[in-house]
Symmetry: C2
Amino acid sequence: MTGRKQSGVALYRQVAQDLIGRVDRSELAPGERLEPEGRLAERYGVNRLTVRRALEERAGIVRTEHGVGSFVAEPAVRHRIDDGEASLSESMARRGISVRHHVLAVAQVEPASVEFRFVRYLEDEPWSIGEVQVPAALAPAGWDGSNSVFAAMSAEHAITIKRAETAFGAALAGPEEAGWLEVPVGSALLEVRGFNTDQEGRVVASFAHRIRGDRAEYVVRLPQ
Amino acid sequence: MTGRKQSGVALYRQVAQDLIGRVDRSELAPGERLEPEGRLAERYGVNRLTVRRALEERAGIVRTEHGVGSFVAEPAVRHRIDDGEASLSESMARRGISVRHHVLAVAQVEPASVEFRFVRYLEDEPWSIGEVQVPAALAPAGWDGSNSVFAAMSAEHAITIKRAETAFGAALAGPEEAGWLEVPVGSALLEVRGFNTDQEGRVVASFAHRIRGDRAEYVVRLPQ
DNA sequence: GCAGATTTGTTCGTATGTATG
DNA sequence: GCATACATACGAACAAATCTG
């Protein structure tokens, strides 16, 4: 970083650009730890705050942990939602990717619905924070998070769950989400919301997931 | 804002929370201008930097313009992609929403492809920045952005364009995107990528859009 | 379990550059 | 040109989380 100012490009972007370059050129491998902010600041000859801005800028490529350090993030997981599986868990399990859930809350809501809130982990990495609402009559009794809510539902009751409508949006991670997903506040999240039906078209679940944008990609192939 | 520190919640988040609250309670209407950062800082009794962090935090709800001011953003537009239309432009036009494009670049790429880069405006508000690649043989000759690239293609050649595969992801706005979309750097973007085929299943286009997360929502209804 | 070192997180004050009207 | 308002950058300090001995 010789140019310092003058170039017309903000310093923090120059730093961000250099970091990206080092990742692209594989000088920094996924999972690898970066030098502390202070040291990076010295190395680039800028203020520590400037380094921090650069790291924020690259929130998708670099992940930081309070009191620990910054690390190069891993690439994304692609997930198809047109393969007939209603839940991500089964698709991933079939691909040999371990899925587990940490149950945050199980609450009775409305007349007769139960809401599950949970964090989903893929390969022991936090991947999404989700909410699923199902009719109380169909709620899986002792869901322990080892499989999906839907799988538990299907097992306890004789129903097949299908995707009906799915909506995609983008959002920024708030404090709580950031905490569970171990990403900085303000990271990009893919928001996936929708509802599911059983084999006879009855709505049996609605869901909302906020998924780490640096990990997630949903693929839809529409029928011709 | 009485609590100042102590509460365990970062000051900038308290400010951000208060701003969100004022928007939710409709004390601030969409499009309305906020007080200058300096004045907000005084009012909340914090440093101007702290106000700036709060505004960044709420990039989806508040939009700032260099040298002008900060404004409350407008709510989102829902878009269905399973209605047979290959392009958003036609769907929106049918809903009475004006769509136009600002062409950033038209470039010859690869052996025989043409790439269009453009900013899409809905109701004269920047909505997405996109790239479309089509075979040179099918490229619309004098696309002026008044309709979609696909519409122009269909008109010039006798083909029907269908969606084939679409992938969704989330990303943060980089400097260039932020500039065109008139959002702060680091805002949430919905990334939609994929390709299209003609009526006979031949790939005739690939596309990548980065859409303002505060404006966009894509809805997919999968066939039963 | 605790104390200290390390590292990131937050906040302030201040200065200067740049875009807009 | 000038005033206003946002953009970038620096230095300093302390808080909070984590790790180590």
